[in-house]
Amino acid sequence: MALPDTAAIRTMVQKHKRYDHMFAILGLLCLMVGLLTLLALLVDMGMRGIPRIDWGFFTEFPSRRAANAGILSAWVGSALVMLVTAAAAIPVGIAAGVYLEEYARKNWFTDIIEINISNLAGVPSIVYGLLALGLFVYQFNLGQSILSAGLTLALLILPVIIVATREAIRSIPGQIREGAYALGATKWQAVHDHILPYSTSGILTGVIIGMARAIGETAPIITIGALTFIAFLPPVPGTGEPPAGMFDWLFSPFTVMPIQMFNWTSRPEEAFQVNAAAAGFVLVFMTLAMNGLAIWIRYRLRKNLKW
């Protein structure tokens, strides 16, 4: 057994540790790149856009004169579309998640469903737009309307909600489930009274993240044919002659926030770019706030396991 050359070992280790430190610095730099980009984005849009944001910005329609243009039709349109999306995606997504976790047996049929869900998560959003154009707008004759847009976005965020529901349900300990069954509950009773209530926070996180994604989606909505210059509002939901008139708003033409921003960004005039920055700032603020909320709920959930 050779006598160790401790001096040689020491120099070799020093050399290796130098690479170690260099990589650590590189890692931090890369993190900085991501962070700085986000900051540059926010600061640039903020500086250009915030001065433009006033009460009028939210209450004016878009106009050919940039100074008078506002996002009224855009944010109202976004809100109405989100309403449809939520009404469609949330029940279906949760139901699908519950089925897959509690009812589905391990067979090829379930495999097909699961493969489809994971595949759909990777389909580009514009393909959803094409689906909507061919199917909803023309085949089903729903027209280029809020209903089509809402349904399209619902399909888009469905995988997000399904995955969040499944993970929330999976994290419930087996004992609670067994306790419910041991008392004679049927499957649905166990789900309805125990499993769903306990997984609410996790599901909520997924819903918020899904909706944040839906608000920012542009491509599918453009494809359906949302117009970029709308100077009127859809009818208020619920007004109009009952019963059919109450749903007039669903079939109204419309626009949404991201499209309005897209429209303004594409105009060369400086004044419209300021508008775009302002709209963008509002949009980013909303999505970051929603994502931040979801992350906070998830954080609280992790630290707060009551069982």
Partner: protein, 305 residues
């Protein structure tokens, strides 16, 4: 008396049973929506493309070097749009894969738990920024900088869009790769450290290779996102179909073309209308192939510890 009670109980049980069955059917229906969606996509894309290919031979579609579907002398070479998609994706991946991987290794092997808890949410929020905002950023912030560096560049370019797209994809690559690396058991790391490795050596020679399947899946997801991205390219790369692999030039991608057509006013059923479905079908098949590749990679190389 007992018989009455028992039969009443049985009756209740049967109606409860029916109710349970109905509920299960309802939930199954919800789960089937995913399958129906896929079927719907396939149906719409194939049926409209079928009509398209009655007018345009497949050979022309694949090999023509011009894309001018709305001109009188119409050409339908998908290669033109594919070149834009390919070039912008390559630029994006040249940014996203190195950055994402380095961040993942750093967070997994070097960073303290506290730093990790702060950085992961920030990365998640970065991925939640709407793509139209990134598009704005590319056109009005990055392009001017590029023009200052390379005065001959125009305001629209694949480079500007590609760079911003890359930054957008970094959180996906980093997050998934980091998850894969954290799943490597501590026993393997201890084995490496016990042999006198530094953190860097352990990370690169032992942890990263062990997590390869998960990391590869992350890369594939990044490729898929880059190929399918629309708004950044629609805003910042210009909408001029241009068969080029030079990122400094403006060009149209498949996705940007579809947007351009949708913004215009094409009558339903016209050849122009059908081109977007043919282009969309191409896009769908490309991303589907990547998704399938990712699925099999994960399955084949899955390490069970």
């Amino acid at each position: 008396m007992l018989a009455v009670v028992t039969s009443a109980r049985l009756a209740k049980r049967r109606s409860r049973h029916i109710k349970e069955l109905l509920i299960e059917m309802l939930l199954l229906g919800a789960a089937m929506v995913a399958v129906l969606t896929t079927l719907g996509i396939v149906y719409v894309l194939f049926s409209e493309s079928w009509v398209f290919f009655q007018h345009v031979p497949l050979k022309d579609f694949l090999f023509d070097t011009q894309w001018t579907p709305l001109f009188d002398d119409a050409h339908f070479g998908i290669m033109v749009l594919l070149s834009g998609t390919l070039t912008s994706s390559v630029v994006a991946l040249l940014v996203a894969i190195p950055l994402g991987t380095i961040i993942a290794i750093y967070l997994s092997e070097f960073a303290t738990p506290r730093l990790r808890e702060v950085c992961k949410p920030i990365l998640e929020m970065l991925s939640g920024v709407p793509t139209i905002v990134y598009g704005y950023f590319a056109l009005l912030f990055v392009s001017p900088i590029l023009q200052w560096l390379f005065p001959s560049m125009s305001g629209f370019s694949l480079l500007s869009a590609g760079l911003v797209m890359g930054i957008m994809i970094v959180p996906y690559v980093a997050s998934l790769s980091e998850d894969a690396m954290r799943a490597v058991p501590m026993a393997l790391r201890e084995g490496a450290y016990a042999m006198g490795s530094t953190r860097f050596q352990t990370a690169v020679k032992v942890v990263f290779p062990s997590a390869f399947s998960g990391v590869a899946a992350a890369y594939i997801l990044g490729i898929s996102r880059a190929v399918g991205e629309t708004m950044i390219l629609a805003v910042a790369a210009g909408m001029q179909p241009n068969l080029t692999f030079n990122p400094m030039e403006p060009a149209a991608t498949i996705t940007a073309y579809i947007v351009q057509v949708a913004l215009g006013d094409l009558p339903h059923g016209s050849i122009g209308y059908q081109t977007i479905f043919a282009a969309g079908l191409t896009l769908f098949l490309v991303t589907l192939s990547f998704n399938i590749l990712g699925y099999f990679l994960r399955k084949r190389y899955r390490e069970a510890y």
